[in-house]
Amino acid sequence: MWLRQFVLDVIGRMSQPDYFERLGLPRRFSLDVAEIDRQYLARSRALHPDFHQLGASSEQQASMELTAQLNEAYATLRDPFRRAEYLLQLHGGPPPNASPEMPPEFLEEVLELRMALAEAAEDAERAEIERQLRERRDGMLREIADDFDRLERDGDRSAILLSLRRRLNALKYIQNLLRRS
């Protein structure tokens, strides 16, 4: 029992680890999804409340809290959009409303795509629009990955952070289209 308590104490003492630390992953955007899953499963097992149900109530409490935090870290890092938003925040990047203006052509296009999705009579038509949207999202994620790489090397830090903010704001519209389609 002391060993289980010890594990929880050690993890609990790490002062507010960020999500990457919680999952034992390097703090960067480009991550292997299989590795994220592996790290999560290994930690999830050690922390799981079922494994600590015979321990003291403080141990059970710690197990539940750490499991909730681990789950939140996992949900955030596994989704590339949320991972990018989180990492930008860790880098002290600007919030979404710091760059609210979008090119009018882009907004027009988003509105048209949304209408096309709503009016798509056949499943095949809708599937084709969704395929194009996913392709576009993947392209945007590659540009975001490039920006984060540039941030690791040198370069104009504030310019790259602003570029990331703009790219993520644009991606939010595309994500929204995919989510509601």
Binding site: P96, N97, S99, P100, M102, P104, L107, E108, V110, L111, R114, M115, A118, N169, K172, Y173, I174, Q175, N176, L177, R180
Partner: protein, 141 residues
């Protein structure tokens, strides 16, 4: 989250959905987006150039219930107002009328931004037309 009955009313029966031709010089178009939620709103006004009164307003959005209700209410308020009166519409009035919760305040901001953008677009089109009409005289001088 519970929507107010006014939001539900506008959501279920949105007023003034549609669009005008952007080629019409008396039409002003405002196209704005909310980066927080990825919603887009297109709001258009049809102005009588003689009186400066907004005769009709239309909108298109694919946002959440609050975004639809905010836009729908805005078009209702715009009809019959002068440009100056329309510019005085504040998002806080929309929040109050629809009883929007704090997380949905950005929907009312979107509506106010769209009104301002539509008016700006109308004024720019009118100015461009006037300078075009004025040109022959300028050449004569």
């Amino acid at each position: 989250m519970a929507y107010s009955s006014k939001v539900l009313d506008h959501y279920n029966n949105p007023r003034n959905v549609g669009s005008f031709s952007t080629a019409d010089p008396n039409v002003g178009t405002g196209l704005v987006g909310a980066p927080e939620c990825g919603d887009v709103l297109k709001l258009q006004i049809l102005v009588n150039p003689e009186t400066g009164v907004i005769e009709d307003a239309k909108f298109k959005t694919f946002g959440c219930g609050s975004a639809i209700a905010s836009s729908s209410l805005a078009t209702e308020w715009l009809r019959g107002k002068t440009i100056e009166q329309a510019l005085a519409i504040k998002n806080t009035e929309i929040v109050e009328e629809l009883a929007l919760p704090p997380v949905k305040v950005h929907c009312s901001v979107l509506a106010e931004d769209a009104i301002k953008a539509a008016i700006k677009n109308y004024q720019e089109k009118q100015a461009a037309r006037q300078s075009k009409e004025a040109k022959p005289e300028a050449v004569g001088v």
